[in-house]
């Protein structure tokens, strides 16, 4: 019937593209503000739902932040692993010179430092407090050693291990001890921890989807009559869906802001204690907060979950509401 508009008075007036665009935009604006208004009408319930969203995301965010801080702590300490290469005691000075030159030629070696048995003994005497006992020794029990610092590229676990084996192949070498091994262990543990936290976050995210879905399902239920009328006078599914999607969107925004607040308050309340602790170890380490990027990321996550939760629910429940 749109092809043959009814004659006389009941002519359908045309709506142009720009009018439709304006109306669409208008409906987005009113949907957004209406949804927000509805949330404001029931502040307690809104706050509860948003708080659930906030806590569910603040928890993994805090854990990730803690891991990030640990990582930075490890970096500050010394992320460069070194090798102390112990040589057989009977190796002659000339051979040691040659070995050092050989090491310097190797790919992946940044610097080489020779520690003579005498120097090692002196340092040990100074540090250990056994100076008299050591002075009483008539032979130096310590072997000659060479400290090898790898280049930045050779720090990677496989390359580092390759280098270690290459050095160990020399007949002069008695034993190799790797310092700062713990840094790599810490990194491995943290990679694992990160994956664990992300898995945990995914579970909580699914929980958030359910919470938002349920809240929106209740709202759809309470607006059933309105939905029926809208469908009866020609509202499309998109039109019906829009306000509920905005409800999910707003839950995400409010929840995200709350989550940022929760994490920031947590960091702020710990920051002073951490600074004092670090100071007692002569460190200037400071607790890192979420920062602008972190906050933005957290809010984006919340909004995505809110929208997704709303979308899934609306899709399932709106089709069930039809005029009878």
């Amino acid at each position: 019937m749109s092809r043959d508009p009814v004659a006389r008075g009941a002519r359908q007036s045309r709506t142009g593209i720009s009018d439709l665009w304006q109306a669409w935009w208008q409906h987005h604006r009113t949907s957004a503000s209406d949804s927000l208004g509805r949330l404001a009408d029931t502040p307690l319930q809104t706050l509860m739902t948003a708080l659930v969203v906030a806590i569910a995301l603040a928890l993994p965010a805090t854990l990730l932040l803690a891991l990030e801080n640990l990582r930075q702590l490890g970096d500050r300490w010394d992320s460069k692993p070194q090798m102390t290469v112990f040589l057989h005691k009977q190796v002659q000075a000339a051979a040691i010179e040659g070995f050092q030159a050989q090491l310097r030629q190797m790919v992946g070696v940044s610097s080489v430092e020779y520690i003579s048995p005498e120097r090692a003994l002196r340092e040990f005497q100074a540090q250990s407090g056994f100076s008299e006992a050591i002075a009483a020794l008539d032979v130096n029990p310590l072997p000659p050693a060479v400290v090898v610092t790898p280049t930045a590229e050779a720090i990677a676990p496989e390359r580092f291990e390759q280098l270690r084996q290459q050095i160990a192949a020399s007949p002069l070498v008695d034993d190799i001890s790797v310092d700062m091994e713990w840094v790599r262990r810490l990194n491995a543990i943290m990679t694992f921890g990160r994956q664990l936290v992300l898995g945990f976050a995914a579970l909580l995210g699914i929980g958030v989807l359910f919470v938002i879905g349920n809240t929106i399902r209740l709202e759809i239920e309470s607006r059933r009559e309105e939905i029926v009328v809208i469908k009866l006078v020609g509202g499309t599914n998109g039109f019906v869906r829009r306000p509920f999607l905005y409800t999910g969107f707003w839950y995400g925004v409010i929840g995200g802001l709350l989550a940022c607040l929760l994490v920031s308050v947590g960091v702020a309340s710990l920051a002073e204690a951490v600074r004092q602790l670090a100071a007692s170890y002569q460190s200037t380490f400071e607790l890192q907060g979420l920062g602008l990027t972190g906050c933005a990321l957290l809010i984006i996550c919340c909004v995505t979950l809110g929208l997704l939760g709303a979308w899934l629910t609306v899709g399932r429940h709106l089709s069930a509401i039809e005029p009878r």
């Binding site: 009814v6 006389r8 359908q12 007036s13 709506t15 669409w24 469908k231 499309t236 005029p323």
Partner: protein, 222 residues
């Protein structure tokens, strides 16, 4: 404008509400639909609105065979058919103005245009000074008129009314019937389901009579 070709409707519970109904309402006609309670009047209207689908036969509205309409096209079909219900179906969480404006907002009319058309429709049904009221504060007859304003505000070529005067006193019922006649005079095709014989007689239009889902009479009232 509205054609039924051998239409039957069997509800999922097996009850046959319409059986082999065939008729044709021309463009700009005004027709009454009568029959005992349970005869199938509301069912027939629901088929036109695509609230229900026929189990058999074709319904053609404005040249479109409704059987061929995809569900995504249903909203656009409904915008061409205004409906008035006995139980108004007004929304009590918004003003009279917003109730009447709803079809225009849905169809995407610009803001100014909405205001102009809503006021014109409310003026037509004599409720211009109630536009800010909540419909719950209005009388039954006034609510019915708000429902009519909403049904005609986007000037649909077809207007359906399911017992629009059901629980109104005779004077009000006559008023409302006069409104429908006026719409009909400007070219709207009007189909009214009603029990009210005296009213139908006073209008003197064509009458379709259903009995147990079958069309037993089509023509002027005898």
């Amino acid at each position: 404008m509205i054609e039924f070709h051998n239409v039957s409707k069997r509800y999922p519970n097996g009850y046959e509400a319409l059986a082999g109904v065939t008729f044709d309402v021309g463009e700009g006609e005004m027709v009454f639909l009568t029959g005992h309670s349970g005869a199938g009047k509301s069912t027939l209207m629901k088929l036109i609105m695509l609230i229900e689908r026929p189990s058999q036969g074709q319904v053609v509205v404005g040249g479109h065979n409704l059987n061929r309409l995809r569900s995504s096209q249903i909203p656009f079909h409904r915008r061409q058919v205004g409906v008035v219900f006995q139980n108004h179906q007004l929304l009590f969480d918004r003003s009279v103005f917003d109730n009447v404006a709803l079809p225009l907002q849905i169809a995407g009319y610009p803001h100014r245009e909405i205001g102009r058309r809503v006021r014109a429709a409310l003026d037509k049904v004599g409720l211009l000074d109630h536009e800010r009221a909540n419909p719950i504060t209005l009388s039954g007859g006034e609510q019915q008129r708000v429902g009519i304003a909403r049904a005609v505000v986007n000037k649909p070529p077809v207007l359906l009314a399911d017992e629009p005067t059901g629980n109104l006193d005779p004077d009000l019922a006559a008023d409302i019937m006069r409104l429908f006649s006026e719409f009909n005079q400007v070219g709207v095709t009007v189909l009214i389901a009603s029990h009210d014989w005296s009213l139908i007689r006073s209008v003197g239009a064509r009458v379709l009579t259903l009995e147990h889902g079958q069309l037993i009479h089509d023509g002027a009232l005898v």
